[in-house]
Amino acid sequence: MQLEYKVPPASPMRAILIALFIVVVAVLSCVDIAKAQMGAVFGKDEFINSCASCHGVTGKGNGPLAKSLTHAPADLTVIQKKNGGVFPLAFVYDVIDGRIQVMVHGSREMPVWGERYKRELKALTPRGEVSDDLAELMVRARILMLTEYLYSLQEK
């Protein structure tokens, strides 16, 4: 294959600057893409793991368990629409976590994911290798990734 072509003569300084610019842009865009993909993948995995059996893979509320519930699971793609076009981030986070909600209201229809994730982590490290603070950090990361994924599901 013939890949050689004529380039107009340029000063070496300019060539170096252009090369640097290209490298920086390339690196930055790779990092950005990697970051975006990681977030999306983790959030989606968590969603399929924890939410889809009731709320459905699409989030519309039609998971395989929907029929076994007395109230239809919520359509998670219209959270933003129903809140005047603003995604209620803190509200969504608290609803998933559930620990504050349970303190206020007692029981609820959805599992308390904050508590559940914490117990899962403790069961994974039954000798207490993970401190309470670290466990709490990891629980919050999981809930945040879920919240981020839900944000990406919102209808315009």
């Binding site: 993948v41 889809a52 998971g63 368990l65 076994s68 007395t70 007692g106 559940r116």
Partner: protein, 149 residues
């Protein structure tokens, strides 16, 4: 090659020592109980009697898990319980094997729809199948221990 074995060995040694030091200081937790509390208690209740906080939201009442032996002529139905958790025996209110209500914490089979990173995200650092099997066994063992006499 040799070097990487040495490195791996050192890493494993660090992990073993690191994970055991706090272990000497305190009682090991009950893994089966923790798994039960994380994945079953929401519906079946902390005591296994079927009155968990989410039970009211279900059309079918969750089973009383403390009378499994009693209802099976005094014999704990080990295989059946294992298969129900593992997913090869499907119950309507447990969802489908592809999408169980408790997520993929007890799914040894490849998981449809999840990215390749997901198993490591759900169970960091571990070889999935033996972890899942021992996890299911821990839950079955816990259930065995809470049977009414």
């Amino acid at each position: 090659m040799k070097e990487s074995y040495v490195l791996e060995g050192a890493l494993v040694a660090c992990l073993i020592v690191g994970s055991n030091v706090p272990g000497w200081a305190q009682q090991p937790m009950d893994a089966g109980k923790l798994e039960y509390q994380a994945s079953c208690a929401a519906c079946h209740g902390a005591d296994g009697k079927g009155a968990g906080p989410v039970a009211a939201a279900l059309t079918t009442k969750p089973a009383d898990l403390t009378t499994l032996s009693k209802k099976n002529n005094g014999v704990f139905p080990f295989g059946r319980i294992y298969d129900i958790i593992d997913g090869r025996t499907e119950l309507k209110s447990h969802g489908t094997r592809e999408m169980p209500i408790w997520g993929f914490r007890f799914s040894p089979a490849p998981i449809p729809g999840l990215s390749t990173q997901a198993p490591y995200f759900l169970d960091p650092l571990f070889d999935r199948e033996p972890v899942i099997r021992s996890r299911i066994l821990a839950v079955v063992d816990y259930l065995y221990r809470i049977q009414e006499k």
